[in-house]
């Protein structure tokens, strides 16, 4: 049997030689553990969830086709859905830029020639390796309104105490604060990018009499834009899937007064508390579509603000 493939350049059909065919088969065989895993554990669930999102399905009874019923119900009849969307957008809109700004700021500081720099870098990276659950428990204590360190400090300063996680006005900012604490991962990436900026750019700027702010504004930040872009995309994906801290700290209830009912929390509740798998699948696809559109828009806009050294954009 002769195997053929089509050349991407000429469009002509190319006949595979015996060795090429053999190598292809061997290659496929060697990657087959991953390939089988991908097909069964990733691709199949994705396709299945698309189908289940059009059904009423509880994991035990056969799925009942309801068309777009789940989507219509979510958008038009479920006020909790919109509350969860609102909470998640609020969280994403503040947490993502805040995290990036803090990470850039700390990376700039850690990039300076100071004694003990590697120790500071280690210290700032440490929170990133604390498991999410442990971090949530730790912060629940720090922000405990009665015994927490945060309120103790406020009291010591003569300031009024705050119901960090018990007051609906403060619960989301508190969770954003917890998220901002674990910025070490982003700092490492920004640090790597900072060290990749050619020194001659700064030397030329120095010769032109540029001060620190001008160098940062016109050299450092533009050169960091690919990494900012990368962090932005990752941040959006992470923020819209935000779950662990909210689940652990509120015991899955999304309180107080629904202020921490995030999208993924509501999705989880529908899937594993109410066993509305079709409904939860529809929520998952809406989430995917939203993140996909936002990522697409960011990619479209990246030509205007992301600078790739050696690229053809400005």
């Amino acid at each position: 049997m002769a195997m053929t493939s089509t050349s991407p350049h000429s469009g002509r059909t190319i006949r595979m030689g015996r060795m090429t065919r053999h190598n292809l088969l061997m290659g496929l065989l060697f990657i087959s553990p991953w390939l089988i895993g991908f097909l069964i554990l990733t691709l199949y669930p994705i396709v299945a969830s698309a189908y289940y999102s059009l059904t009423r399905y509880d994991a035990i009874s056969p799925p009942e086709f309801v068309g777009l019923g789940n989507y219509v119900d979510l958008f038009t009849k479920n006020p909790l859905f919109w509350q969860a969307v609102g909470n998640t957008v609020y969280y994403a809109a503040i947490a993502i830029p805040l995290n990036i700004c803090i990470a850039i700021g700390v990376a700039l500081l850690l990039n300076m020639e100071v004694r003990g720099r590697s120790i500071y870098r280690t210290i700032f990276f440490l929170p990133s390796i604390v498991p999410d659950i442990a971090a949530a428990m730790l912060w629940a204590w720090i922000l405990n309104p009665q015994f927490g360190l945060a309120n103790a400090m406020l009291k010591a300063l003569g300031l009024p105490t705050i119901g960090w996680l018990t007051d609906p006005d403060w619960s989301k900012p508190s969770l954003i604060l917890i998220n901002a604490w674990a910025f070490g991962g982003s700092v490492v990436i920004f640090l790597a990018a900072l060290q990749d900026i050619p020194r001659q750019l700064y030397e030329a700027a120095d010769l032109d009499g540029a001060n620190a702010w001008v160098r940062t504004r016109y050299i450092t930040l533009p050169m960091l834009t690919p990494v900012i872009f990368f962090n932005l995309i990752n941040g959006i994906i992470g923020a819209f899937q935000y779950f662990t801290n909210a689940y652990v700290i509120t015991g899955g209830q999304g309180g107080p007064a629904g202020s921490t009912t995030f999208y993924s929390l509501l999705l989880y509740r529908n899937a594993f508390s109410y066993f509305k798998m079709g409904y939860a699948s529809a929520m998952a696809w809406i989430l995917f579509a939203a993140v996909f559109v936002m990522t697409l828009l960011l990619f479209k806009s990246s030509g205007r603000w992301v600078y790739y050294e050696g690229g053809d954009n400005n």
């Binding site: 087959s32 509880d58 994991a59 009874s61 056969p62 009665q146 105490t161 594993f272």
Partner: protein, 476 residues
Amino acid sequence: MSIQIFNSNGKPMRMNRRNFLRVTAGLGGAAFLSACAAPAAAPAPGAPSGESQAPSGESQAPSTSGDQVALNVLWENWGDIYNNLMTEIGTDFNKTTPNVNVEWNFDPDWVTKLTTLIAANNVPDATLMRPAPLANLAPKGALLELDAYLKDAGVSRDDFIAPMYDSGLHDGKQYAIPGGADFICMFYSKDVYEAAGLDPEKPAITTEELLGHTKQMMQKDSAGDIQRAGYIPTAGSFVNWAYIHGGKFYDADSGKITANDPANIAAMEYLKEFVKLYDINKMAAFNARPGMFEAGNPFSTKQLGFVMDGFWFYEALDQHAPDLNYGVSWWPTLNDSDEDRKRYAMSGWMVSLPKGAPHTEEAWNFLKYGFIDNSARMGYLTLNGPCILKAAGDWEAGLKEKMGANNRMVPYLEFFSKTGALATNFFPVIPVQAFYQDELNRVFDLVMRDEVTPQAGLDEVTKNVQAELDKAMKPA
């Protein structure tokens, strides 16, 4: 490349790369196919349940009496201490039935596990059960009807704590036997009573007294932070308060949700009276202290007058508050009468036999042994309320021995067993029970925060849950 292997005579054989890859791929494929294959012994659930199963001879799979049987029991993870205590019941059963070995599978998310096991036709022989999953699984034919087994065992509804028995019913048939009842009573701090200038030997017995005593116990600092409180209502207690006020949550005859029953609204308004004494955020802050089973909880530190909890609370108090002077009394009612106390709601856990399990007969024998014949022992050993009424005496005696005759709790044990005997209500066993409870919790918080009135909030719950129930009951 070639790989050296040895034949059965110990002589080396050579295998080239192609053959090695063929063999590896073949073995991998075979392993994959065998892993994906459905277990042969497990018939598919899903068909609507028909007539009641017979105790023997007609079970889903043939009994393997005489052979060694590993009984697979799915259980909620209660933590190592209580898991280990529960396994003692299995060990006792093993002694009486040497050919059956009870193998426990403790899982904190046992409902999800059970659901996936049922979906995969790989059910455990027995499983813990609660009303919410029962209401989902029983109508789908995933659980075995136990009426014939119960009849064969010579027990009926009259032998059990009624609301626990009724929680296992669906469509008039029994799908679970009661296992452990949550006997909840009122713990009150005699130290707080004294500090507030109240008589510690006269705890609040009516709803009016509870509110009055709470007012007297209330103490705040200059910043408005609560330093001492009486009773702090929680969303989880609302259902019992509503029943105590004469409320109801579901009308089985009409299939209607009745969350906005006038008595439920009255109960919500009553609880709001407590919250008015505190600032809601200050109250939430006070409640954010360590849980009742941890050191530093406000009852242990003599800063809280009342806690509604089960008898098992004594262990935490022994550990964290050895010098606390506390007592136990009835959960307050409107008029302090046994007639009033019959309105108590009871919850707890049950045990079911999933349909299609391989060792149904042995599993039933284990259920009967552990939760009917030895209900008292199971109860005092694992700190659960026994669901067999006549077991109350043995249970109390066993508990006294376990906790020590001088334990502060001993004089009050009777309140708990009597609470179980009196209770008649239970939260409705309907397919949307988890959603119903979440909706009540959500609205409770909003009502207490003055964001919605009790009437409007409970109207909303009624509407939302009814809509979900209608969808769930709609025939496929």
